[in-house]
C-alpha cells in the first residue's frame, strides 16, 4: 500500500513537474536573459494550444505540433521587435504593463474566434493507449510523451546555451550588453531571438499539453501564476533551477494530495489531538485539501531561506 502510494505519487508528480518545466522554460529564458517580466508568457502557451487545435481539427495533429512553436515564435519576434523594444528604455514597469495588456488582448482574441468554452482538442487515437499498468492503474502513454518532450527541450536548451557559440553570445549579451555590442555583436537581434525562442517553447508546450488538459480561454490564467512561481523558486535565468523547481512543485503537489495530515493529527503525539479537533478550523485542515497552495508555500520558504532561488546566482 505504501509502496503503491510512493510509486504512483512519484510518477504523477514527476510528469506534472515536466509539464510545468515545459511551460516555464521559455519564461526562464526571457526573464533571466532579458530581465523582461513577461506576463503574456502563459498566453503564448494558450495560443500554441489553439494553433495546434486548429490544425489537428483539420486532421494534422503532428503538423500542428510543428507549426504551433513556429507561429508563436514568430509572434514573439514581432512583439519584441515592434512593441517591447520601444518601451525597453523606460524600464521594467513599462515592459510589465505592456505584456500584461497583451495577455488580455490575446485572451479576448481567442474568445472572439473560438468562443468562451473549452474546445475539443484531443490527442490522436494512435497516441491514446496505455503505456504500462502500475498497481492496477493504467498509465497513459501521453503522459510519458509530455515528459519526453520536456526532457528533450531541456537537453536542447542546455546544450545550446552552454556548448555553442550562439549560447556564448547570448550569455555575453545578457551579462555585459555594451561590451558585447562593442565586440560587434548585434545585441538587439540577440534579444529578439531569445524572446522568439521563449515564446516558441511556450507554443510547443501548449500544443503538447493542450491535448491532455482542456484547451480553453482560461488556460493562460490557470498556469500564469504557477509558471512565475517556478521561475522564482528555481532562480532567475537558471534553466537547471527551473527544472528542479518544476519537479519539486510537481512532487510536492502530488504527495500532498495523498496525505491527510493535519495539525490536530500532529498534536495527537503529545495528547492534544482531541482538544485541537474541538478547536477545528486550521487545526483540522488536512494537507490534501490545500494541495493547490503547496507551490506557493514552497515559494515562500525558498524566498525566505534563499532569496535568489534554488540555483540563482544573483540575490
Amino acid at each position: 500500500m505504501l509502496m503503491e502510494f510512493l510509486v504512483v505519487s512519484v510518477l504523477n508528480g514527476a510528469i506534472y513537474g515536466m509539464l510545468l518545466f515545459m511551460v516555464s522554460a521559455g519564461l526562464t529564458l526571457i526573464f533571466g536573459m532579458m530581465g523582461v517580466l513577461n506576463f503574456a508568457h502563459a498566453s503564448f502557451y494558450m495560443l500554441g494550444a489553439y494553433i495546434a487545435y486548429t490544425l489537428s481539427s483539420l486532421g494534422h495533429f503532428w503538423l500542428g505540433l510543428l507549426l504551433a512553436p513556429v507561429l508563436v515564435g514568430l509572434l514573439g519576434v514581432v512583439v519584441e521587435r515592434f512593441l517591447l523594444r520601444r518601451v525597453h528604455a523606460f524600464g521594467h514597469a513599462h515592459e510589465l504593463l505592456l505584456t500584461f495588456g497583451l495577455a488580455f488582448i490575446f485572451e479576448e482574441l481567442v474568445k472572439l474566434f473560438y468562443g468562451n468554452f473549452p474546445v475539443d482538442y484531443r490527442m490522436p487515437e494512435e497516441l491514446r493507449f496505455t503505456a504500462f499498468t502500475v498497481f492496477g492503474t493504467d498509465y497513459p502513454f501521453y503522459r510519458l510523451f509530455i515528459g519526453g518532450t520536456a526532457i528533450a527541450m531541456f537537453a536542447l536548451l542546455y546544450l545550446l546555451l552552454s556548448r555553442t557559440r550562439v549560447g556564448l553570445v547570448v550569455r555575453a549579451a545578457e551579462r555585459l550588453p555594451q561590451t558585447a555590442e562593442a565586440l560587434g555583436h548585434n545585441v538587439p537581434l540577440v534579444f529578439m531571438g531569445v524572446f522568439g525562442t521563449g515564446a516558441a517553447l511556450a507554443g510547443l508546450a501548449g500544443g503538447v499539453a493542450g491535448a491532455f488538459f482542456p484547451t480553453s480561454p482560461n488556460m493562460a490564467l490557470e498556469l500564469g501564476v504557477i509558471v512565475f512561481v517556478v521561475v522564482v523558486v528555481g532562480g532567475l535565468g537558471s534553466l537547471e533551477g527551473s527544472l528542479l523547481a518544476s519537479l519539486l512543485i510537481g512532487l510536492f503537489s502530488s504527495f500532498a494530495v495523498g496525505l491527510d495530515w493535519s495539525l490536530a493529527g500532529a498534536l495527537d503525539i503529545v495528547g492534544l489531538g482531541e482538544w485541537a479537533r474541538g478547536v477545528g478550523g486550521l487545526m483540522t485542515t488536512t494537507v490534501s485539501s490545500i494541495a493547490g497552495s503547496v507551490p506557493f508555500l514552497l515559494m515562500l520558504v525558498v524566498l525566505l531561506l534563499r532569496p535568489a532561488g534554488l540555483m540563482g546566482e544573483r540575490s
Binding site: 482542456p214 480561454p217 482560461n218
Partner: protein, 412 residues
C-alpha cells in the same frame, strides 16, 4: 394666425399629455448583472442570453402595465467587488428588479446589498431573482423577503441523484465524495454524507480540493482507486470536473460519476467517450419535454437551451406570471406586491409544476436525473452523445427542509 396658434397649443398640450401618460406608467426596469468579461464570461453569457430571452418573452406578451420592460445589462466581471459597483449603478439607473445567478459569492454580496437598500429606501424597494447562486445560506442565514432562489442547492440535487442511480442499480454501496473546497463543495459533501443512511450507501472517503487550481488530477485518481468506490459523487464544475473525469478515464478506473454540472458546454466534447454512462442531476432536460420550447429558443438565440438556460427561463416565466397577477392595479411599480404575487405562482413546466416556498423563497422545482448516452435526443457539443432522462423527481419530493437559520421579515 390665430388658428395656427391654437393648433400649436393643441400640439403642445398633446405632447404634455403624452409626457404625463409616460410618467404614470413608467417602464419597469430590470437589470441582469452577470460576468460578461473575465474568466467567468462563458457562464455569464449563458445567463444573459437566457434571461434576455425570458424577459423579451414577457414583452412580447404585452410587457407590464402596458409598457415594455426595459432590460439593462451590467458586467460585474464575476467578482463580488464588481457586483457592488454594478448594483450601485443599477440603483442609480432606476432598476427595480435584478436577475443574477452566475456565482454564489456575487449572489451573497448582492442579496445583502438588496436587503440593506430595502431597509433604507422603503419607497423604492428592489426585488432580487437569484437564478443560479446555490449556496445554502442564501435561503438560510441570508434569506430575506425580497430574494427568490430559482436554483437547486446541493441537498436538492444529491437526493434525486442517488435515488435514481440506486433505482437503476448503478449506485453501488460504496461512494467516494470529491468536491471543491468552498461553500458549494462543502454543501455537496454534507449532503452526500447525510443521504448515506437512506440512500443505502457508505461514503468510503471524502476529499475537498482547491477550486480551479488543480491541473493534474492523477494524484486524486490514485486516491479514488485506493478507496475502491462504485460511484464518485461530485459537485465539481468546469475544469475541476473535466480534468477529474478525464484523469479517471485515462487511468482505466471503472467508476460511475454522479454529477451536478456535467452539462456545461464543452464538457462532453472534451471528455469524449469517458463521459458515457455518467449521471447528471439538473433542473431541466430538453429530451423530457416537447419540442416547442427548444425550437423557439433556438429560433431567437441561435442555439438550443443548454446547461443553466432552461432554469433561467423558468425564473423569468414565474416572474412574468407574478407581473400578470399584479397588473392593472394602477399602483405603478410596487415590488412588494410583485414579490407577494410571486409567492403564489404555480408555473406549469414540462418537467412538472414549480412553486415558491413561502418560508424561505426557495423555488420548489422538479429535478431530472439523466445519463450520458449515445444517440440521445438533443446531442451536445457537436458529438453524438447527449443526456437521456432517467427519472424526474417532483419538486416537493426533491426539496430540502427549510433551514432554521432563515428568519424572514415579512412586509407589513
Amino acid at each position: 394666425m390665430a388658428a395656427r396658434l391654437a393648433g400649436g397649443t393643441a400640439l403642445a398640450m398633446l405632447g404634455l399629455a403624452g409626457l404625463a401618460g409616460a410618467a404614470a406608467a413608467e417602464p419597469l426596469k430590470v437589470a441582469i448583472i452577470e460576468p460578461m468579461s473575465g474568466p467567468d464570461a462563458a457562464t455569464g453569457e449563458l445567463y444573459v442570453t437566457a434571461a434576455r430571452y425570458g424577459l423579451e418573452e414577457i414583452n412580447r406578451g404585452g410587457g407590464f402595465n402596458g409598457e415594455s420592460i426595459e432590460i439593462l445589462l451590467y458586467d460585474n466581471g464575476g467578482t463580488a467587488a464588481g457586483t457592488v459597483d454594478k448594483f450601485k449603478q443599477a440603483v442609480a439607473d432606476g432598476v427595480r428588479v435584478i436577475f443574477q445567478g452566475s456565482s454564489s459569492a456575487a449572489a451573497g454580496q448582492l442579496t445583502a446589498d438588496v436587503r440593506k437598500h430595502n431597509l433604507r429606501n422603503p419607497d423604492s424597494r428592489l426585488l432580487y431573482i437569484n437564478d443560479g447562486g446555490a449556496a445554502l445560506d442564501l435561503t438560510g442565514d441570508k434569506c430575506h423577503f425580497y430574494h427568490f432562489r430559482f436554483q437547486a442547492p446541493a441537498p436538492m440535487l444529491v437526493g434525486p441523484l442517488v435515488e435514481a442511480m440506486s433505482e437503476a442499480g448503478e449506485l453501488g454501496t460504496k461512494v467516494y465524495s470529491i468536491n471543491q473546497n468552498y461553500s458549494w463543495g462543502r454543501d455537496m459533501e454534507t449532503a452526500i454524507r447525510e443521504r448515506a443512511g437512506n440512500g443505502g450507501y457508505e461514503v468510503v472517503e471524502a476529499t475537498l480540493h482547491d477550486v480551479a487550481k488543480i491541473q493534474d488530477f492523477a494524484p486524486y485518481v490514485a486516491r479514488i482507486k485506493a478507496a475502491e468506490p462504485d460511484t464518485v459523487l461530485t459537485g465539481n464544475w468546469s475544469n475541476d470536473l473535466l480534468l477529474l473525469m478525464k484523469a479517471t478515464g485515462e487511468a482505466g478506473l471503472d467508476v460511475r460519476f454522479g454529477t451536478a454540472f456535467l452539462d456545461q458546454p464543452g464538457n462532453i466534447a472534451n471528455a469524449g467517450e469517458t463521459a458515457l454512462g455518467h449521471y447528471l442531476a439538473s433542473t431541466y432536460n430538453l429530451a423530457a419535454g416537447s419540442e416547442a420550447f427548444p425550437e423557439d429558443y433556438k429560433a431567437r438565440t441561435g442555439h438550443y437551451p443548454v446547461y443553466l438556460e432552461p432554469r433561467v427561463v423558468i425564473a423569468t416565466r414565474a416572474f412574468g406570471k407574478a407581473l400578470e397577477a399584479v397588473e392593472g392595479t394602477g399602483e405603478g411599480i410596487d415590488v412588494t406586491a410583485i414579490a407577494l404575487a410571486l409567492e403564489e405562482v404555480t408555473l406549469e413546466t414540462e418537467m412538472g409544476p414549480v412553486t415558491i416556498r413561502k418560508e424561505d423563497h426557495q423555488a420548489v422545482m422538479p429535478i431530472v436525473v439523466s445519463r450520458v448516452e449515445r444517440g440521445a435526443a438533443y446531442p451536445v457539443d457537436g458529438t453524438d452523445m447527449g443526456f437521456a432522462p432517467v427519472k424526474t423527481i417532483p419538486g416537493p419530493e426533491a426539496v430540502y427542509p427549510v433551514q432554521e437559520s432563515c428568519e424572514m421579515q415579512r412586509p407589513g
